[in-house]
């Protein structure tokens, strides 16, 4: 864990950008106005953890798994404290991590007739998707105080 100051600066920029991007999507999904900043925070935290892990040299699927855990936990904490369904925070927060780029590149290489690359990107995308699924389900099934009232 030795990050240079440029890397930390980079992470902070990413934090703000991810928060703003998530905010944009939260508005598109018509989230309640009062929960918008919390949605942005959830998205920003998830993305920064992901980016940090990538910087530390962890592969993208493992990073997605480890990043989606604090994200889901934060979403659940907000859901309980703000008495709002967890869906609202989870849906908008996870958007940055959903492998949109992977889907795009898979299709792109497929069209370019670069079958080997298309296949490896496709498998990688699938791995990230599974990692996200496992991460979400793990954290969602942890019993938390106030769990029954949700």
């Amino acid at each position: 864990m030795n990050l240079t100051s440029t890397q930390i600066g980079e992470l902070m920029v990413q934090f703000i950008l991810a928060g703003m991007g998530t905010l944009g999507f939260a508005v598109l999904f018509a989230c309640p106005r009062k929960s918008l900043p919390f949605c942005a925070l959830v998205g920003a935290v998830g993305w920064v953890v992901y980016e940090l892990l990538i910087m530390l040299g962890i592969n993208s699927a493992a990073a997605a798994l480890l990043a989606v855990m604090p994200l889901t936990l934060l979403a659940r904490i907000f859901a309980i404290s703000r008495k709002t369904p967890v869906t609202i925070f989870l849906l908008s927060g996870i958007f940055a991590l959903v492998p949109g780029a992977g889907i795009y590149y898979t299709a792109y290489y497929f069209i370019q007739n670069d079958n080997a690359l298309a296949l490896s990107t496709g498998i990688n995308t699938f791995k990230i998707a599974v990692a996200l699924a496992v991460g979400i389900s793990l954290v969602l099934s942890i019993p938390l105080p106030g769990w029954k009232k949700q």
Binding site: G24, Y105, I136
Partner: protein
């Protein structure tokens, strides 16, 4: 007399049932997960003393009966939009019904209010689309130029989607043509600015990506609603395929016409 009687008569039972079904339908239509719909309906039935209430909820339909099958209703929910504000409103309503002695009239009024929460205004959607695609193309590693191109593409994509919604075009066509539009705008503008196009394309494609269907599919699986989860996952796959078709079409046409491969 309060409508929260411990033993509602037949007329009242029908009204309660209608109310509960309408609440469930509102939740399902606006993007709540199956588990929440079922749970909310059951809590409401319990609060209004509707006995023997059983509901079976799928991603696109609700089946429910009450009072040893004296009343049974089926609701088909073919269209799904995402309006999380309405989900939150109905959720808050059910919480309040459970907590205090709210009469049925008031609950019905509140439900209608929740159903009528408007979508964000058009300009608001356009601004957030621009903001979203700019930020996402930047965090995926794009340069400032690409970010700007992505925001233009995001703007045109949201504008196009709004126009499609007004004309009520089918979803598949909408997604394919919108992703083609995004790719076209990105390639042309990036050529003009002499920058690679891929990050701009990815950033603005985020508007279309099946993030919702995917996440909801997982949530359904986690709760044990395997059928609904499968429906959502197929939905996500189809959306991804539509995006790939639209993007791929433009990319290969461009390569064909210009004889250059786009990066």
């Amino acid at each position: 007399m309060s409508s929260r009687e411990p033993f509602p008569d037949e007329e009242l039972r029908r009204r309660i049932m209608d109310f509960i079904m309408a609440a469930g339908q509102t939740l399902l239509e606006n993007g709540a997960e199956v588990f929440r719909v079922q749970q909310t309906m059951e809590i409401m039935a319990k609060s209004f003393h509707l006995r023997e209430f059983h509901a079976y909820v799928l991603t696109n339909g609700i089946f429910a009966s009450a009072g040893t099958a004296e009343i049974s209703e089926v609701r088909n929910v073919p269209t799904r939009t995402t309006h999380l504000g309405r989900v939150a409103a109905v959720n808050a309503l059910s919480r309040e019904i459970a907590l205090r002695d709210m009469p049925l009239d008031e609950a019905e009024r509140r439900l209608v209010q929740a159903q009528q929460i408007p979508f964000p205004k058009d300009w608001m959607q356009l601004v957030s689309g621009v903001c979203g695609s700019f930020c996402f193309s930047m965090i995926f590693g794009g340069s400032l130029k690409e970010g700007l191109v992505a925001s233009v593409a995001g703007l045109s994509a949201i504008w196009y989607l709004l126009a499609c919604d007004r004309k009520q075009l089918p979803g598949g066509f909408k997604k394919i043509s919108c992703s083609a539009l995004i790719t076209l705008v990105c390639i042309l503008l990036c050529n003009l600015l002499h920058s690679p196009a891929s990050h701009a394309i990815i950033g603005s494609l985020m508007i279309l990506t099946p993030g919702i269907a995917f996440t909801m599919g997982i949530r359904d699986f986690v709760q044990g609603d395997y059928l609904s989860g499968t429906i959502r996952m197929i939905d996500a796959l189809l959306i991804a395929a539509s995006i790939a078709i639209g993007t791929g079409l433009v990319l290969s046409l461009y390569t064909l016409i210009m004889g250059v491969t786009v990066v």
